[in-house]
Symmetry: C2
Subunit: 155 residues, 2 copies
């Protein structure tokens, strides 16, 4: 192999490796919408960020938030009186409805959570997870329940 | 300049140029959600694609579609009886409400269109435009009106 060929392959490989490292550890590089502020309320376990994209009002009951979960971060169990839709924009996450198996979510996945169904969502244990939450507040806000235990999370 | 240094800079420049060309002409490389199928109805001017991410039902009136406009493609003037929210995920687009100036939209922008307000949206004249449309169908579907003329589009 000539020196030039070697250099070519070396640079190409290095470039790809950097891109992969950046993808895993710097979620900012990939998100479409702002990460927002760290969530400080008691409804989440671990570190998550919220940027509200639009709030509901009398005319339109739809509230939309961009939620970024660090690895292992998740919501508590909760329900929405008029349902919620989740659009996955980056990373790898989990979603589970009460009595069902945990689903693994990837970029491009869409979840439609029915009204009043207990569920939780969050990041997988080794990746960030970014989702747009489209919540119908027509019949009131989310009802928050108990935390997702490590046993439930890892099952 | 040594031959090696020159090669290094040459490869780096070439790599960046390819990335920019790909970004402009291949919208597929950047979209989070599927591009879907070409829209064949009469409500659009030019070439646009739609992938429904979720449809509305009796329980949740929210329908979400991923819409990809080719340069110069746009909707006709229309209105939503219960409003619509647009989330811009890629490209450069236009949005205009009747009687207002045309707005230029970029990745990360959010538009909340009030109920019954006549408006149109589409791509700019030299870029693709990708948006997630979150439509509240609580009071019925969109009402479609006249086409956006070239004069209105270019104003």
């Amino acid at each position: 192999m000539t020196y030039t060929k070697f250099l070519f392959i070396f640079i190409f490989t290095l470039n790809n490796s950097f891109a992969q490292i950046q993808k895993k550890y710097s979620v900012d590089a990939e998100t479409v919408f702002d990460k927002g502020e760290k969530i400080n309320n008691d409804n989440f376990t671990g570190t998550a960020y919220l940027k509200m994209l639009t709030t509901h009002d009398k005319e339109n009951p739809t509230a939309i938030g961009n939620v970024t979960f660090e690895p292992e971060a998740r919501t508590k169990w909760h329900l929405h009186p008029a349902g919620q839709i989740l659009l996955v924009t980056d990373g790898i996450g989990y979603y589970q409805e009460k009595g069902q198996s945990k689903k693994i979510l990837y970029k491009g996945d869409v979840i439609k959570c029915p009204a009043n169904v207990e569920h939780w969502h969050g990041a997988s244990d080794d990746s960030y997870f970014v989702q747009i939450a489209v919540t119908n507040n027509d019949k009131g806000s989310a009802v928050w329940l108990q935390a997702v235990s490590d046993e439930e999370y890892n099952k």
